[in-house]
């Protein structure tokens, strides 16, 4: 059973999201997703300053055998990408909810977060 922290929000496409104190959000991929992909060898983070729609593809995670798009869970502006992943993509495998975060956003509407799954809801999608 994979680790699904209760304090985060989730998208069915396996991204997690954390609302920070300043209202910005941090996005990464779930423990389940990193496990399914296997050892990551490359992460492409989105360009800072760009805007994305909800469910718009904005990053790519790559393992030896697979490459997968990462979608913005909600609409907003990209304000940071995790530079550390350029040299150490394995951080996503080692610490998906911490050092392995992918990008930070300023949401268009803070309420959009409420449309996402909670931990139980996401766990249920993995059981199917």
């Amino acid at each position: 059973m994979s680790n699904i922290p209760a304090d985060l929000k989730y998208a069915a496409s396996h991204e997690w999201l954390r609302v920070e104190d300043d209202g910005t959000i941090t996005v990464g991929i779930s423990d389940h997703a990193q496990d399914a992909l296997g050892d990551l060898v490359y992460v492409e983070t989105p360009e800072v300053g760009g805007t994305v729609d909800a469910e718009g593809a904005c990053a790519v995670v790559e393992s030896v055998k697979a490459a997968s798009d990462v979608y913005a869970p909600i609409a907003g502006e990209i304000i940071a990408g995790n530079e550390a992943l350029v040299d150490r993509p394995e951080l996503v495998n080692e610490d998906p909810y911490g050092e392995g975060w992918l990008f930070k956003m300023k949401p268009d509407s803070a309420d959009d977060v409420n449309n996402l799954l909670d931990a139980d809801g996401y766990a249920a999608t993995l059981e199917d």
Partner: protein, 489 residues
Amino acid sequence: MKAPELDNKLIFERSREGRQAYAQAPLGTVNTDGIPAELRRQSPISLPQVSEMDVVRHFTRLSQKNFSIDTHFYPLGSCTMKYNPRACNTLAMLPGFLGRHPLAPDTHSQGFLSCMHDLQEILKEVTGMAGVSLTPMAGAQGEFAGVAMIQAYHQSRGDTERTEILVPDAAHGTNPATATQCGCTVREIPTNSEGDVDVEALRAAVGPKTAGIMLTNPSTLGVFERRIGEIQKIVHDAGGLSYYDGANLNAILGKVRPGDMGFDVIHMNLHKTFSTPHGGGGPGSGAVGVSKRLLPFMPIPVVGKDEAGFRWLNEKDLPQSIGRLSAFAGNAGVLLRAYIYARLLGREGMHRVAEFATLNANYLMVELEKRGFNVAYKGRRASHEFIITLKRQKAELELTATDVAKRLLDFGMHAPTIYFPLLVPECLLIEPTESESKETLDSFVDAMAAIYEEAKNDIGQVKGAPYTMPVRRLDDVRAARQLDLRWQP
């Protein structure tokens, strides 16, 4: 005495300053003062400095580290690794063919052009298409030509909204990649549990945006698409065209023709069906065939014939052509090999290709089933290939497709294709081809059974394979994370 292991040096590590293969360079020195100083090379050319024998020994030894059709059974699904007749190579490399410049005048080209014209005619007949262009240099380029012709056809009719290409989810990755490269969008069509295209889903997907569908038949799942007539009607009624991916043409050669199945455009992988060499990853050859309505759009050049003899047809003859796809006329030397193969086989030989490829595949399938392996589409006939799934063995023994693939190498057999198609978990796609004997197939079955037994007793032994190759399993993750793509002193 045990033979010493061959050293693993790179050719650069054999280099010694001042050494040279003297016989190979022009004699004498010449004046190059006419090249301006600022355009001249100042840095040394970092090529190895070695003797001729160094080179011959180094590369001969490297060759010995390869599996190949000439040395090993190679049942790689979807790749048609059949015997490449030696005569095809020898005769395509006659000095007259090798020395002909691609822009030589027609007066000095009738021999070569006659071979290309004959090949076009043979391919037309065996596929049931109205025209053939030989120029695409690989299957993927044939696909590109096909989709580009479909686009050109719609545009020529002022039908500019058709931008969507339908692709079954079981398709080769090149199909969607090609559609994207042509500027189309891709719509995936699901496959049903028996391995056929989900016809109802297709019916729901077609419409005024449909440019066409790309189909492989038999599909990549190793079964014949039984409702092909219905699929054609749905797509054509919606105003789309249909594209035949010839990856599996070996399964039906001389039995059923893409043209008779209603396809508008096809590509053939001559390096599969017409037995030209795979060469360690190319060159291929992706000749295309078209129905009557796509004739004006064929890529140039094609060979025509008039009272003066054979000549290249170019944009003046085919003003609506999608144009050139290679600097000259594609992989001419590969086309010559395909032509020679076609002449050696002849009409009867073509019929036999599909017959014996299918016999071998079905035999292998039932024999593997008898030894406890699970066929992915039980109850279906195998085409020229079939799929084994290790889903059960993985759950019970942790035996994966990779494990079996690597262990087979120790039995002196190349692995089947693994993890393709993506729809079937832990799959092995097995294509024995018509040129393998019953004894070879039986020994493959024995090897597979032995690996299964070994896995039941000692899975670790299987997971450590291969043991007898020049290297053991390689660290792919390290290869991708710490890129080392060239030697540096």
